[in-house]
Symmetry: C2
């Protein structure tokens, strides 16, 4: 491996001058600069970032840790964050935590020791206790959670509001027997997306006197298969269902497929509403009515917060929570 010393020798200058050229320091004579650049090109030299990082104490890289990269929502999110990070002069790389709680904490602790300046953690299951582990000097932004209360910067969604919008929309469209897929009632200390959306959904139904039995909330993992399976089981247990709110668009698409398999028409027989408004939602057949979070604003907020923290713009006790707005986007899957 060629080092800066090699380049320096080759160009007849000191290593420091090479460093100055590479880092665009002022006060380098043009002739010298050219000589150094030529030497760099000739030797095919590249900076060793490990050494640079060790010396500078920063890497210019932010890590986005998501439970599963293979989900439209996270792909979309990652894409937005990458752009915003680039605007602020940071690179962003994506790691997967595999949705298992231990791996999530693993990602957190590893990131401390990895070459990242900051961590944006899209957590699925984090207990309040875990705040302990997250606390500390490492710049971290927690993404997408609402209930978690630790001392951390957070960008969250109006999960309950969104779910309530969905419930109201189904009732407004004349649904009389509504259900939810991908719902869950978790313990108080482990508030996850499913639980929050379920809560918003049920509360809204209750307010309108439309809450039937708890059995109409079915759990599901956030996959096409999960949505398909949950819908199939729901149809078996509650054949008269005429409105379904799904905790994510992916679940909704699996559910719509299951409805088609069962010969039910969407929206005529059953109306379906998703959550997330992933790009796909506008292009399915029928297109998907969904709760649309302000993804762009959330990405802005997340990058803004993490960069501010990395650059020391905010104090150690000054934590903020940004709530992303949601709106309901009506499309074909609930047009009845």
């Amino acid at each position: 491996m060629t080092t800066m010393q090699d380049v320096a020798r080759h160009a007849g200058v000191s290593a420091m001058t090479v460093s100055n050229v590479i880092n665009d320091h002022p006060h380098v004579r043009e002739a010298t600069r050219q000589r150094v650049l030529a030497a760099i090109a000739e030797l095919g030299y590249h900076v060793n970032t490990a050494a640079r990082t060790l010396r500078q104490g920063r890497t210019g890289v932010i890590c986005l840790a998501v439970p599963e990269i293979d989900r439209p929502y996270f792909g979309h999110l990652a894409s937005l964050l990458i752009d915003r990070a680039a605007d602020r002069g940071f690179e962003l790389v994506v790691e997967q935590t595999a949705a298992r709680r231990d791996r999530e904490l693993d990602a957190i602790s590893r990131s401390r020791l990895r070459n990242y300046d900051g961590l944006i953690l899209s957590a699925v299951q984090l207990h309040d206790d875990d705040a302990m582990l997250l606390r500390g000097d490492f710049p971290t932004v927690l993404l997408g959670e609402r209930g978690f209360t630790g001392p951390l910067d957070r960008v969250v969604m109006a999960n309950e509001v969104g779910a309530a919008l969905a419930a109201g929309h189904l009732l407004d469209r004349g649904c009389r027997r509504v259900a939810m897929l991908g719902g869950y009632h978790s313990a108080i200390d482990a508030i996850d997306v499913s639980t929050l959306r379920t809560r918003g959904f049920e509360d809204a139904l209750r307010v309108r006197g439309a809450l039937q039995d708890a059995a109409s909330v079915r759990s599901s993992d956030f996959s096409f298969e999960g949505g398909h399976r949950a819908m199939t089981e729901l149809l078996r247990d509650a054949p008269d269902v005429d409105g379904v709110f799904c905790s994510t668009d992916v679940v909704a698409i699996g559910a719509i497929r299951a409805l088609a398999d069962a010969g039910r028409r969407v929206p005529h027989d059953v109306a379906v509403v998703g959550f997330d408004d992933v790009p796909l939602a506008a292009f399915t057949t029928p297109s998907l009515t969904t709760i649309s979070p302000d993804h762009a604003a959330m990405a802005d907020a997340a990058i803004g917060m993490i960069v501010d923290r990395i650059e020391g713009a905010r104090g150690a006790e000054d934590f903020r929570t940004v709530v992303g707005e949601v709106v309901l986007v009506p499309r074909e899957s609930s047009a009845r």
Copy 2:
């Protein structure tokens, strides 16, 4: 930041002993190990990877560079590669190159200087000339290209074979006026996925005497919008089309949506075949007939090759190309 020295002092041993404990070296007395572990826990110490990397010269991290993370195919691919890499003791992170050729090269050159042991590059547009830049000592595997001929390890798809399968399938299903979306005829020296699939498609039609005019091949970017737009334009110019091959599943889904918007039924009026077999393809309505590459085998091959190279198991002149098999998976979108 607490350092290894701090831990050593705290535990009453030398820094080397701390290092030995952390790296599970033999010949550390159990009592000492416990003392060190206690000190580590107490101080909340984490290894500084920049320092470790500088010293050891390796990071244990492989980079996957993709043009756009926000595309089902890449999400799926990333997910498979992450698992395989973990099996081999490597972490894998994902970077986005944004599909612009300069950014791709940028990712390549940056990765040399970044803290990665190897690069898996899913390139969209690379010229043969770029082989120059890729050549060298940095472990690299090029993914998904077929035509590119530089001295590199590659995992490629049987793009032409797959496209030919799709063409044959459409004809077998009785389509008489077939077209392609997301096709492209590129210059010889810049062979990309679109071009290869187009070539396979047209060659197959020609063999069966069914090649109509070149106008029935329309370009499109690999997005839902792109597929939608291309299909809309195709319907305007060739209203009698009854079979469409799309260069990716995403384009196909956009196309199906456009067909629905135009009041055409799939597959009754127009049959549609995609390429990639992303998880989504089985769950759309209608479900999508598609060319299914052996994703798992390709992921295996890519990780196997990169790890072998990182570990020096293969010589500097020993480059391999693995071709992933493809099969056609018939589903509803062409069932007529």
